[in-house]
């Protein structure tokens, strides 16, 4: 926990946020031409009901404040809304209700979507850097570092080959190296640590620690309780989109571990009292 003495500067304030996904064409047999036409002609609400648009309420009434210097872990079982919440903090997903205030522009550590498998690693480094908002000069400056860090050229001149020829591990290493090349105000990491072989994992962990030092706050989504314990001092536990617990790492992880392995004669944990009600 960040110490309470002295003024704590908030970097991220999440205020009663709901996030809803809309999924098209889920109505049985209703993904027809008439339904599509109806959607173009009719109003959105009516058309949604007709066309069988299903809403998925991914995050429900979550509130918390993150302070400068904190490293916050996000835990929860699969599909509990961790990644969704992270994307909303990054400003990449609109909120249905509530607001998210941030200091500067939080950025998600990840650049995969901007890269193209048919291009060479070299061009992908440039494209990825530009996509993350680096200038051309910055990309040129850091090019050697990125390639060196990825270790792509350790086994030959692979950086000039198309990325589709890389092994999945090599591609993952290059992607991480590109993504980690930029400095961030608020850094959001979504399961980025589990790439590459053991030696690369060690290198990437130490790079993450460096990034943490430079960044104001760090959010880390992970299913690896050990990496959460190593890096975070505060943990948010999301379950079914609701914030179930918010507190120091040890406390929350203990409760979470009891929830996920209820072998100590634990009863059905569904009914367990929610420590932090939303």
């Amino acid at each position: 926990m960040a110490d309470t003495s002295g003024e704590r500067i908030p970097t991220v304030i999440v205020d009663n946020v709901d996030i809803v996904y809309r999924v098209n064409g889920t109505g049985a047999g209703r993904g027809t031409a008439t339904a599509a036409l109806g959607r173009i002609i009719g109003g959105r609400k009516k058309a949604e009901a007709r066309a069988g648009v299903r809403k998925v309420h991914a995050v429900k009434k979550v509130s918390f404040t993150a302070y400068k210097g904190e490293a916050i872990g996000l835990i929860g079982t699969n599909g509990s809304g961790k990644s969704t919440l992270l994307k909303a903090v990054a400003g990449l997903l609109p909120t249905e209700n509530g607001r998210i205030f941030t200091h500067g522009q939080p950025s998600l550590l990840g650049v995969n979507a901007a890269l193209m498998n048919d291009l060479t690693g070299e061009r992908n480094v440039h494209l990825g850097g530009l996509a993350m908002g680096m200038s051309r000069e910055e990309v040129r400056e850091r090019y050697e570092d990125i390639v060196g860090f990825s270790g792509i050229n350790e086994k030959g001149d692979f950086i000039t080959l198309p990325m589709r020829t890389y092994s999945s591990g090599m591609a993952a290493r290059l992607r991480f190296s590109i993504a980690a090349a930029k400095d961030h105000d608020v850094l959001l990491i979504d399961e980025a640590l589990a790439t590459g072989d053991r030696s690369f994992q060690k290198r990437s962990e130490s790079r993450i620690r460096e990034l943490r030092k430079e960044a104001g706050s760090v959010f880390l989504v992970s299913h690896n309780n050990k990496s959460i314990r190593d890096t975070c001092d505060r943990v948010l536990w999301l379950e079914r989109g609701e914030l179930r617990m918010d507190g120091p790492t040890d406390e929350v992880l203990k409760a979470y571990e009891a929830f996920t392995n209820p072998d100590g004669g634990g009863t059905e944990p569904k009914k367990a009292r929610v420590a932090v009600s939303a």
Binding site: P10, A36, F101, H103, A114, L119, L130, M245, P248, P269
Partner: protein, 305 residues
Amino acid sequence: MSQAVDTPPPPAATAPVEDPAELAARYGLSVSGARPTLAEYVGQLWQRRHFITAFATAKLTAQYSQAKLGQVWQVATPLLNAAVYYFIFGVLMGTKHNVPDYVPFLVTGVFVWTFTQSSIMAGTRAISGNLGLVRALHFPRAALPVSFALQQLQQLLFSMCALVVILLCFGVPPALSWFLVLPVLLLQFVFNTGVALVMARMGARTPDIAQLMPFLLRTWMYTSGVMWSIDKVLKNQHLPHVVHVLLAANPAAVYIDLMRFALIDSFHRGQLPPHVWAIAAGWALVAGVGGFIYFWKAEETYGRG
């Protein structure tokens, strides 16, 4: 019993009970993912200009990277397209008898039309087809449709190289008027980008539009005089005046005819509608500015599932 039951509520992390909005204002925090003002937006887009060009070039290069002939297809594809249209409209239907220099006439029409058509199609899918990118990285979303339109412009420049060869082969002499290609391309690019931005917003809300567009675009193509000369076909028809005006003001037809006027010496000024440059510039301005503002208005909603 579960541990969660026994765990005392953690010391509330948000100790000061204060309105979040006030707290945010006090420390100068801004709403995440809020829409910037129009001026800020233009600035952000300008900052990302290198990304826009790099993305367009990357897409263009990636297109044929698996083919054995590679980038040769950049020129070969438009040439084959033109050959097919020549076979159907020139040989089978005999449209060529009415038009001098029919092959240059047809090929210019096909290339210029393809530029508009592909820009609009790519624009329609610019957001809905790149949700992964939109949901992973932060950049002004207009970068995507603009980038796709730019990719089509680069594609057209390849086609123009092929076109110059065709023109020379069919005995069209090079002329100073060829330089008019540049302003025409510029105006058409602005127009295409504007329409691509409009379609990107509509396609983001209703991806189904991408299924509908090919039909609309094909109808538009047949009324734009890509394969025949509008004024020759309509000369002997008694159509209401308004139809003539509409056909003459059709932006696609305007850009196609201007390009023909610039390149083909047998295509005379008389074949152009009156005030043609004003119409061309007007369409570019209306579509470009209008499309940009229309797209910006929904900036914060792109990427919603």
